[in-house]
Symmetry: C2
Subunit: 357 residues, 2 copies
């Protein structure tokens, strides 16, 4: 006779013999109005008399009622869930992006569904599942690939793309200014090192960020009257090992003394730095080095690593806002945000005070 469980919170299953699923019906009964009125109190309070509203709200409180989202979404065709599809990106990158997107989505009353394979419907049984649940999609792209863009165009939901901003992409895009960041870094290197001893160490060709950074590096050298030789730009991958291998080879060839290097990301830069240390080259005296991303690790290294800051949290925030704008104001103009990067100079590339030594 005595139910064994005693529920501490007033909201939940107090008294009633059916402990779960308090529905709009229960609220309507308890407050003596129709379910339509309950719905109005919750969704369009302006349409209801204050007295009625009060009664209903009391009932909602007492029962701990919360509307069934599936029923609601079935009617409204809106779930307030945003899908996020990310490529295999570096840990810190991923975390910063998700954290910031999550915070923003929460602020705006949305939730984030992670779906690394949303636009690869062939993978796994999850299979496009997300697409039916989601109001829109944030997709991060890192490769120059029409395939991805076409797949996205084929989707039936609004999309915001992080990482690509090419002509003819009629969706919201959020990018960072790789060109300016790489130019500033290159100018900084050129301020203390002759152009023919400057190098760029990139990821594989086809990676959008790496390619843009490489192009800006080359252009900045050209702007100073130096047409970079092939050997001054190298392409591998976003990996410690690649930076290490490249540097070891060049050091063996005697090419890195009094040189300056821009790496396409911090991890490549760390590979280069460790190889240099291993071979007895001093930073910044013998070799000046700048990474890219300005990840947390930069200031933990010795010497601290100069880097170009990429505003990942801002980009994630912008992406959420852009997508929500598209959802809530479908007729607004499509925007293309390009967020600023900035050079952070630390010991690995610092010039001696007072100019030449």
């Amino acid at each position: 006779m005595n139910p064994p469980e005693t529920s501490p919170e007033p909201a939940a299953a107090n008294g009633k013999s059916k402990p779960r699923s308090v529905s709009i019906r229960s609220v309507a009964d308890l407050s003596g109005v129709s379910i339509a009125t309950v719905s109005r109190v919750l969704n369009s309070p302006g349409l209801v008399s204050p007295a009625t509203a009060k009664k209903v709200q009391a009932a909602v409180q007492e029962l701990g009622y919360r509307p069934n989202l599936f029923a609601k979404s079935l009617l409204t065709k809106r779930s307030r869930v945003i899908g996020v599809s990310l490529p295999d990106i570096h840990g810190e990158f991923y975390a910063e992006l998700m954290h910031s997107a999550d915070r923003r989505a929460c602020e705006r009353g949305y939730h984030l569904l992670v779906s690394s394979n949303a636009h690869h419907p062939e993978e796994g049984p999850g299979n496009g599942f997300a697409l039916d649940l989601v109001d829109g999609l944030i997709v991060m792209l890192t490769e120059r690939s029409r395939v991805d863009l076409d797949a996205i165009a084929g989707l039936r939901v609004p999309v915001a793309i992080i990482g690509v901003d090419e002509a003819g992409v009629p969706v919201e895009t959020i990018t960072c200014d790789n060109a300016i960041g790489a130019r500033r870094a290159t100018e900084h290197l050129l301020a203390g090192t002759p152009p023919e001893r400057c190098f760029f160490v990139g990821a594989h060709r086809g990676n959008l960020d790496s390619d843009q950074r490489a192009a800006a590096f080359a252009n900045t050298l050209r702007a100073q009257g130096h047409d970079p030789a092939d050997r001054q730009l190298a392409f591998g991958e976003f990996a410690f090992e690649w930076g290490w291998d490249w540097a070891m080879e060049r050091i063996a060839a005697g090419e890195l003394t009094d040189s300056a290097i821009l790496a396409a990301n911090d991890e490549i830069a760390i590979g280069i730095a460790n190889a240099a240390r291993e071979r007895g080259l001093d930073m910044p005296a013998d070799l000046r080095l700048v990474g890219f991303d300005d990840s947390r690790i930069c200031s933990l290294l010795r010497p601290e690593l100069s880097s170009v800051r990429v505003p990942v949290p801002d980009m994630a925030r912008e992406a959420v806002d852009a997508l929500i704008r598209r959802l809530e104001e479908p007729d607004s103009a499509t925007r293309h945000a390009r967020l600023p990067t900035s050079l952070v100079i630390r010991d690995s590339s610092r010039l001696p005070v007072g100019g030449g030594l």
Copy 2:
């Protein structure tokens, strides 16, 4: 007359004048059966004659039909969405955990909803939203707090907890074996350093991981007949700066020469390492150091940092499996998984070959 858009894929909006929302009705009409039969073909193929099934499947293909998940979930009360609630954890940690959980969820046909504030309903308008959408929750806890556990108990959905495994928690738990990892690390330090010159540098008291690691450190010293002095265990936070400050102070006091230190995580260890370098202490000759987590950065540092590996991806995977088990076999026994840690010895703590120097 000619619709302007030409859709390349056969599935989508080909021909029909209403381009969106092909419903079960459309499929039923096209294949000449009832919607009930369409539903059966999709959900219980065994109940339908092969011939009928073939017709229906063809129609599904042709129309590119996908069931409306909201309608479906309204009936079945299942969304195949798992909520993930994480505290503010370190970047790499977060990324590894989410990546692994995402992969596993996808394999099993589930999706992940990130909701950093799922059990903090007071924060933001997103407000418990997730709870209505989600079949169950994976919650990671890092603090010793009844509040969190009670809040979780108050939830009406199945839960798997990462990080806590205390008596009386009647839910699935997934932890790692902090005690064994810390013991192995301490034994490794004791093998070359007298117990009174061994230190543990932890996070704040109350952090579950840090406290467990501290306790194991102290116990291991005791097991060798040395009762650790207060000064041998310090508590601050999981931060580079804390490690740096602690080390600077102790070095100034002359306490860290020929010492051995277990840090509660890698970041604290890096702070200690940098301070040691700054003050001219050599690792491992003057000071031997072991971190905790074995994050990626350990092998990028010079000297490489010894660390205790925490199997984060495995834990995430286990959590997903545990939760799904709870969802799909509600009567199965509640399990408490404790995953093994392991000591990874690198240069920062290595003993000279052949024993004593």
